[in-house]
């Protein structure tokens, strides 16, 4: 059975019921036969359960439809059903690699809603755990990108080795390695001990050596350069108009980092640079992450010099019976993957009237087809890896 491109698109949109694998369709533009391949759903340990319906002309990608929703957990509706506090542990499960930045964005949105102040020490702790999260996310995303390329194991395991140290710190502070549930409206749940801060100093001091090692291992590797340079180019105009944020946007050369734009928290006190790419290809997105890793080390070195004392929780902040006045607020931060925002509408009751998440990887995924068109099947895997998606937050 053959289908025209228009029919193919209509079938795709109509019920989401894709054609069986390997069915031939005719593309009027090329005039030749197209092969439709269903890539995925991948195993959750790769990038999450994500499927791509790809139409191929030979090796070349002619059309690509992302199919997602396999990991949908009703996050936003649950947020409307639960109290403000009860949504906090659920935010851990959005981007399950960076639970602390998710906590931060949600806490920021609620604090904006009620006009809650955060004590100085809590701001420092938030920044420290936030930057540690960014570091481990970038290490992991680079490792998985190389893994997708076929270098099974080595670079990813080197990354895991370093990430483990950061996760141990998270466990010592928050009690959990990945589902941290650490921040509260008006501060943080528990205080950090001086020993914990010393542990962070030790890990941060060892990080530049790891970054050097990683760069020597990967950055000049000819195979990696041949596979990634000039592949999956994202033009800056398209990136801006599609709302792409985070390392994927900066790799295209657009200087937009919410840490610099909004200066939320205490980011204005620290001196750091925003690395920018030139070509917007996979290699640039890979390099940007390694460069941001170094900037995070720089921020942490400055922040750890003098962490002020004092409470970590505003004593006036309420934990139970938390009822904000009617109103709305949008809190956003620069999460490791891009702009993570929470939009809340309060109607004066204990639950938000509307609870909306703006997940960075969901928006970054919208340009996947534009980045993949014209490249080969093997490149699609790389391009997908370079966007750095986590399906927990795409599907919510």
């Amino acid at each position: 059975m053959t289908l025209s491109a228009a029919e193919f698109g209509a079938r795709q949109h109509a019920g989401g019921k894709a054609l069986p694998e390997g069915r031939m369709v005719i593309d009027p533009e090329s005039g030749g036969d197209l092969l439709e391949v269903s890539m995925g759903p991948h195993h959750p340990s790769t990038h999450g359960v994500f499927r791509m319906d790809v139409a191929l002309d030979g090796e070349r990608i002619v059309r690509l439809k992302p199919v997602f929703g396999y990991l949908h957990r009703n996050h936003e509706k649950l947020g409307e059903e639960h109290s403000y506090l009860a949504s906090m542990p659920y935010t851990d499960r959005l981007d399950y690699i960076c639970s602390l930045t998710n906590n931060w964005a949600y806490a920021l949105a609620v604090e904006k809603l009620v006009g809650q102040e955060v004590p100085e020490r809590a701001e420092y702790l938030r920044l420290i755990v936030g930057e540690l999260t960014r570091m481990q996310n970038h290490i992991l995303s680079v490792g998985f990108l190389i893994q997708d390329m076929g270098a099974s194991g080595t670079p990813l395991m080197y990354g895991f080795r370093e990430r483990e140290k950061i996760l141990d710190l998270f466990e010592a502070l928050t009690g959990s390695r990945m589902m941290c549930n650490y921040m509260r409206f008006g501060g943080c749940r528990v205080d950090a001990t001086p020993e914990w801060l010393d542990g962070v100093r030790k890990v941060v001091a060892g990080m530049p050596a790891f970054a050097d090692e990683f760069e020597r291992l990967l950055c000049t590797n000819e195979i990696l350069m041949a596979r990634t340079q000039g592949v999956g180019v994202l033009r800056p105009e398209l990136a801006v108009s599609a709302g792409v944020t985070g390392p994927a946007l900066r790799a295209s050369g657009v200087n937009y980092d919410i840490r610099k734009v909004d200066r939320y928290g205490i980011y204005d006190r620290f001196d750091f640079k925003v690395p920018l790419g030139e070509h917007g290809d996979v290699y640039d997105r890979f390099m940007i992450r390694l460069l941001e890793l170094r900037q995070s080390i720089r921020i942490l070195e400055q922040a750890l010099k003098d962490v002020p004392g004092g409470p970590v929780m505003d004593p006036k902040a309420k934990i139970r019976n938390f009822r904000p006045k009617p109103g709305e607020a949008y809190g956003r931060i620069e999460a490791p993957k891009g702009e993570l925002g929470f939009y809340l509408i309060s109607d004066g009751t204990g639950n938000p009237y509307r609870y909306r998440v703006r997940p960075p990887s969901f928006v970054n995924l919208t340009v996947l087809e534009d980045m993949c068109l014209g490249y080969s099947v093997a490149d699609v895997v790389l391009i997908l890896g370079s966007i750095d998606i986590v399906l927990g937050e795409v599907d919510r």
Binding site: A86, M88, P89, D168, E171, A172, L217, T220
Partner: protein, 220 residues
């Protein structure tokens, strides 16, 4: 030269490979069932109920106020309140849970029940080897399985447990001092009315405890 970058990378892996024989830092894998990673004090897995003293039932701190049941995000706690009362740690009669079930197949270890508990009755455990072949009954912890002693709590979270003990002792001392003061006042009043001084000093009579203050927070 083409291939230089690859050689550089290989040198790095060779360094790691050789280093794994000499440097302890590079041997990061813990051979789990035989070896175990060091216990991290703050680590949390599933909740348990704390009791004081030797008897689990008598020393049960939970007064079945059901705040945790209400606040639990995935609603994995089920409590049945008692009809009768038993004395709590300050001697005030309080309800107790006839049934206290936690379905740990639903629990997500978020610790919100611990945070909202005004009686320090529910705390986080650190036992993670809970695999069972019974998916329903085996993962539903009842009151008897949940109740663990204060000594056990001290053994897994020493800093936190000491802090809680201090807070409870302070609370108890405050209650006792107030009861004592009230008893003394009552005795002095009675003595003044009788206008006949008695020789016996009015000690803290437990029977005369007019209005013992509510413990922190209090049930709603």
């Amino acid at each position: 030269m083409l291939g230089e970058g690859i050689l550089k990378g290989l040198a790095e892996t060779a360094k790691n490979f050789a280093g794994s024989y000499v440097s302890k830092e590079r041997l990061t894998t813990v051979q789990y069932p035989e070896e175990r990673a060091e216990h991290i004090e703050a680590s949390r897995v599933f909740p348990f109920l704390v009791y004081d003293g030797p008897d689990a039932f008598a020393g049960m701190r939970c007064v079945s106020c059901q705040i945790c049941e209400k606040e639990c995000p995935p609603k994995c706690i089920y409590i049945e309140k008692s009809k009768d009362k038993k004395p709590d740690y300050v001697g005030k009669p309080q309800n107790y849970p006839v049934r206290f079930d936690i379905d740990i197949s639903v629990c997500m270890s978020c610790q919100i029940c611990v945070e909202v508990c005004p009686f320090d009755a529910i705390k986080m455990d650190s036992v993670f080897e809970m695999a069972t072949d019974n998916r329903f009954g085996g993962l539903l912890l009842d009151r008897e399985k949940l109740l663990k002693s204060n000594e056990y709590y001290h053994s897994i979270h020493p800093t936190e447990a000491t802090e809680v003990d201090g807070r409870l002792a302070e609370e108890k001392a405050k209650v006792e001092a107030k009861a004592k003061a009230a008893a003394e006042a009552a005795a002095a009043k009675a003595a003044a009315e009788a206008a006949a001084p008695k020789t016996a000093a009015p000690a803290a009579a437990p029977a005369a405890k007019p209005d013992a203050p509510k413990p922190t927070g209090g049930a709603e």
